[in-house]
């Protein structure tokens, strides 16, 4: 079953611009995580935000969580060509399962 739904499915922006991706989920969660996947590779964990947190920063990444709306956003500031990848949100509902959304394909244009 798919818990998270990322929006948009694909995003192309100019290098240096900010990229924002959104994730909506259906059931209550313990935490929400964002991952990155380069083409044909495994996923790399970016950031985890707990259900009692509203915002978290890591370098050029900013994640927000709104549990009342069951949504999260990932902001990448000052994008670089190396940020081109697919980004996934994943939720942990406290039952040992980590469920991923369908992802947003981000393409940074030179």
């Amino acid at each position: 079953s798919q818990q998270g739904e990322e929006d948009p499915q694909a995003l192309s922006i100019q290098e240096g611009e900010n990229a924002t991706m959104n994730c909506s989920y259906k059931t209550s969660i313990n935490n929400l995580q964002w991952y990155r996947q380069n083409s044909g590779r495994g996923l790399v964990h970016l950031i985890l935000i707990r259900s009692n947190e509203r915002e978290k920063h890591s370098g050029r990444l900013r994640v927000t969580l709104d549990t009342s709306k069951k949504s999260s956003s990932l902001l990448i500031t000052a994008s670089r060509a190396a940020d081109t990848a697919s980004y996934f949100c994943a939720t942990d509902s406290g039952d040992d399962k980590i469920i991923f959304g369908k992802g947003t394909r981000l393409h940074i244009l030179p």
Partner: protein, 112 residues
């Protein structure tokens, strides 16, 4: 430090043949282990997860099975592959609830 090994990286198998994909984790004990499948350009579908030796939970009824014969070993199997089993298979581990998952490099399976 912890590492995860998944092999092979690519595999081409005929329809009806068996499958065995192996995943091992080093540097940690009693990890949660996961098998995901990713269709081309799509999200990750959770297939199986395990919280301990011999404990396997199946998320999607299908042509696959999983086993955990040792604490840090997770095996994905099939007795007879179908064309629809083609995809990118990813193994992952975590230390438990409220923590992130660490992924292997994946196995690209093509059933012909």
């Amino acid at each position: 430090s912890q590492t995860i090994h998944q092999w092979p990286a690519t595999l081409v198998q005929p329809v009806g043949s068996p499958l065995s994909l192996e995943c091992t984790v080093e540097g940690t004990s009693n990890p949660n282990l996961y098998w995901y499948r990713q269709a081309a350009g799509r999200g990750l579908q959770l297939l199986f997860y395990s919280v301990g030796i011999g404990q396997i939970s199946s998320e999607v009824p299908q042509n696959l099975s999983a086993s955990r014969p040792q604490d840090r070993q997770f095996i994905l199997s099939s007795k007879k592959l179908l064309l629809s089993d083609s995809g990118f298979y990813l193994c992952a581990w975590s230390t438990g609830r409220l923590t992130e998952a660490f992924f292997g490099q994946g196995t690209r399976l093509t059933v012909v």
